[in-house]
Subunit: 108 residues, 2 copies
DNA sequence: AGTTTCCATCGTTCATCGCCGATAAACGAT
DNA sequence: ATCGTTTATCGGCGATGAACGATGGAAACT
């Protein structure tokens, strides 16, 4: 029962973390931002603003969400800001979902 | 409804659909529900209510979200309702995220 | 008959999201 | 020193999300 409880806690905690990661990507604009970031080593906020038809403040917010979720690395570069896709984190998230899917399809 | 899609909207449309799928899973409770559904061929609303400490109406809502996202199949079984995990749809979602991740990691 | 059980839906409350305009700080250029 | 550019953050507004209780309908049990 001790191990069972720990398993449950583990599952619940994993669910929470996975949900947080998925929530960060659960918006078309943020997926587009990730796609854009994938094409280059890094870019600044302005680049994204030019690409998407959204206000600069809105883009900044979306970038913040991605950074807080750990999917994008942020480093203030003088005037410009430097946003870089954390591909390892993205892979982790994808793997987590894949693992959940595999667990769910174990019997088929 | 949305049978007409311009080529330019292809990426945006894919992002939108992926975002919708991820949003359905972007909640710890719904992930737990999916996990629970994975352990059996099907179950009713009551089963989930007993497992999670939430009101029956809340659970019903979460199930509805999963059904509308296509991740869970629903068939009214006499008195009880029958919810069944659509493992193929879950795999599709997982694959979509994996594809995005691969696209983003093509150069590494 | 009446009753219980299971379920979906409605209405409400509260919090969060998504978007914007405005603002101020930081930096580069003139 | 004064622009122009870039950026993050604030305040506000409408929309959505998440939770609950209450209600009513349908099936099953007494």
């Amino acid at each position: 029962m001790e191990t069972l409880l720990e398993d449950d806690d583990c599952n619940a905690s994993a669910s929470r973390r996975l949900a947080e990661g998925l929530a960060a990507l659960a918006h078309p604009t943020r997926i587009e931002i990730v796609r854009h970031l994938a094409g280059q080593p890094a870019c600044c906020c302005r680049d994204v603003v030019d690409r998407l038809d959204l206000a600069q403040s809105t883009v900044s917010q979306h970038l913040k969400v991605l950074v807080e979720a750990g999917l994008v690395r942020f480093s203030p570069d003088r005037q410009r800001s430097r946003y870089e896709l954390d591909r390892a984190a993205l892979k982790d998230l994808s793997s987590s979902l894949a693992r959940l899917t595999e667990d769910c399809c174990a019997g088929c």
